[in-house]
């Protein structure tokens, strides 16, 4: 196992023919994607293209799903939702999910450790000094940016090595977006694998190794960082940026 995990070509996430449903509505129509260890991959697309649903389907938070989702070499399509994070997955939802009845530090300590090698509380506070200052405040009293930092920091403590981040820059001031970009680069340097759902293409472009472009619940294009300049036209057309 150890050699597999240090092998840079190890596929940390491999999704094949994933379909997802909410009740009667069929949202994802056969997604195929693979993310290698240490890669930062984005899911681009318009609202409603199925990017958030893809992340939620990986976490088994949708109504029903079929196909195959391999995480760190384990098939998870039949796994209960609470077993998936234990394979080393950290999920940061679009709505951030900060708990109002918990203070900042309790929010940070909430998710159980899933692997060794996570960041300590001290390291987290060093990375996000604001959170240290406000550690005894009610979680939802923080500003939007601070709440986003908290939602990110929370999953870094658990030792998860595959991070699923949903719209982390949404609605935040440019200076905070910049700070989040620095954090993502640091996490990449640490060798973490990141799947980023992002609306802000200018934020995502310089960070990512590859991009998956989604439309109508399908992946319509896979673009490597090197191909990006040549695909500008297509992206403009699909994203309306």
């Amino acid at each position: 196992m150890t050699s597999l995990h240090t092998n840079p070509d190890f596929e940390q996430l491999r999704i094949s023919d994933l379909h997802a449903f909410y009740g009667e509505s069929h949202i994802l129509h056969g997604i195929d994607m693979r993310v290698r260890r240490g890669e930062l991959v984005t899911l681009l697309g318009r609202n409603g293209a199925g990017r958030t649903t893809t992340l939620r389907a990986i976490m088994n938070l949708v109504g029903r799903r079929t196909g195959s989702i391999m995480i760190n070499g384990n098939e998870t399509i039949g796994s209960a939702a609470h077993l998936i994070p234990r394979l080393g997955v950290g999920y940061c939802p679009e709505e951030r999910g900060i708990f109002a009845s918990l203070n900042v530090e309790e929010n940070l300590l909430l998710p159980p450790t899933v692997r060794s090698g996570g960041m300590s509380l001290d390291e987290i506070y060093a990375m996000f000094p604001n959170l240290y200052e406000r550690r005894f405040s009610q979680g939802t009293r923080l500003s939007g940016g601070e709440q986003q930092m908290l939602a990110m920091a929370r999953i870094l403590r658990t030792g998860a090595n595959l991070l699923l981040l949903d719209e982390i820059t949404e609605g935040l001031a440019p200076v905070i977006v910049q700070k989040l970009g620095e954090v993502l680069l640091k996490l990449k340097d640490k060798g973490l694998t990141i799947v980023l759902v992002e609306q802000n293409f200018r934020f995502a472009a310089p960070l990512a190794d590859r991009h998956y472009l989604m439309e109508h619940g399908q992946i319509v294009e896979e673009i490597s960082a090197a191909q990006l300049p040549a695909k500008k036209e297509l992206l403009n057309a699909c994203l309306g940026v």
Binding site: M59, N60, L61, A81, H82, L83, I84, P85, R86, Y91, P93, G97, F99, A100, S101, L102, E106, L109, L110, P111, P112, V114, I155, T158
Partner: protein, 295 residues
């Protein structure tokens, strides 16, 4: 003798003590209801029947197995709590996520079955449970006589209530419970086994009811309907305190007991309705209850 508003001090304090004891039971029962409602979103109408079951477990244990009071205080909540977990796992889980009304109907039906079954087996008149030797007698405080067992009930209930509050508000396990109350889906996404948390929570709430039942056994008649009579007031207490509020349930429970005691002194005719009067007034001014968060 000292008079306060024309009432002898001893009478006043005696009624306040009785009120405090009732309040201790209200607090224990409404605390269990609040914890269960918080995580399961179920209004547990079986709570009174489970309280009755706790008292009967103590009584039957004493009569048939030689389980003394102190052992019953531990064993009865464990046994009834385990039954509660089985109820959650096999009945309540099937209707999780459905309309509130289903949970209400299911638990109400359970209460009727349990109470009916016990009436069939033991009749309605009830039996008495002997006061444990250690707590027989009492102390004369000069202005009033303080029975040892009643003092113990108040102390034991308060200790259990505040230990529960501490566990929920100040510990790691409690933070799971609070977070699970807010957003159970996200808790799953962090790797927390929410279904197990729900089962344990229901079991703990039920164990609190059984604990109250054992405490009650030596002072109230142990009868199949003992819970049904109490539960209506306890629901009013929960509504006054604010649905799902832990501290609200404890404080309101004790306060309503005291208010009932005072009413017995000054206007006895209203003693059994005063809690509902308070409920009406509180709901008029604070619809979410005294300690509840505005939705």
């Amino acid at each position: 003798m000292t008079l306060i508003f024309g009432i002898p001090l001893g009478v006043l304090l005696g009624q306040l003590l009785l009120g405090l004891i009732n309040g201790a039971f209200y607090a224990l029962l409404s605390l269990g209801l609040a914890i269960i409602f918080g995580l399961l979103r179920i209004i547990n109408f079986a709570h009174g029947a489970l309280y009755m079951l706790g008292a009967f477990a103590a009584l039957l244990g004493l009569q048939h197995l030689g389980v003394n009071y102190w052992m019953a205080l531990v064993l009865s909540p464990l046994v009834v709590g385990a039954l509660g977990m089985a109820i959650e796992r096999h009945l309540l889980r099937r209707i999780a996520g459905e309309d509130h009304l289903y949970g209400l109907l299911l638990t109400f039906g359970l209460a009727l079955i349990l109470e009916g079954g016990f009436v069939k087996l033991f009749g309605v008149s009830g039996a008495s449970y002997p006061t444990p030797d250690l707590l027989k007698g009492g102390v004369n405080l000069g202005f009033m006589f303080l029975p040892g067992y009643r003092a113990w009930v108040v102390v034991a209930a308060l200790v259990v209530c505040f230990a529960t509050w501490f566990m929920i508000e100040r510990t790691r396990l409690g933070s799971y419970l609070r977070a699970g109350t807010e957003n159970p889906k996200l808790m799953q996404a962090f790797g927390i086994n929410v279904p197990l948390l729900i089962t344990l929570t229901y079991g703990y709430g039920v164990a609190l009811a059984a604990f109250a039942g054992v405490l009650a056994a030596p002072i109230y008649p142990v009868s199949p309907t003992m819970g049904a009579n109490l539960l209506i007031v306890v629901f009013a207490v929960v509504v006054i305190g604010g649905m799902g509020s832990i501290m609200g349930a404890i404080v309101t429970g004790l306060a309503m007991g005291l208010i009932e005691g005072l009413t017995k002194v000054f206007y006895p005719q209203a003693a059994s309705t005063v809690v509902f009067l308070v409920m009406v007034i509180v709901l008029l001014f604070r619809p979410a209850g005294l300690f509840g968060k505005e939705a």
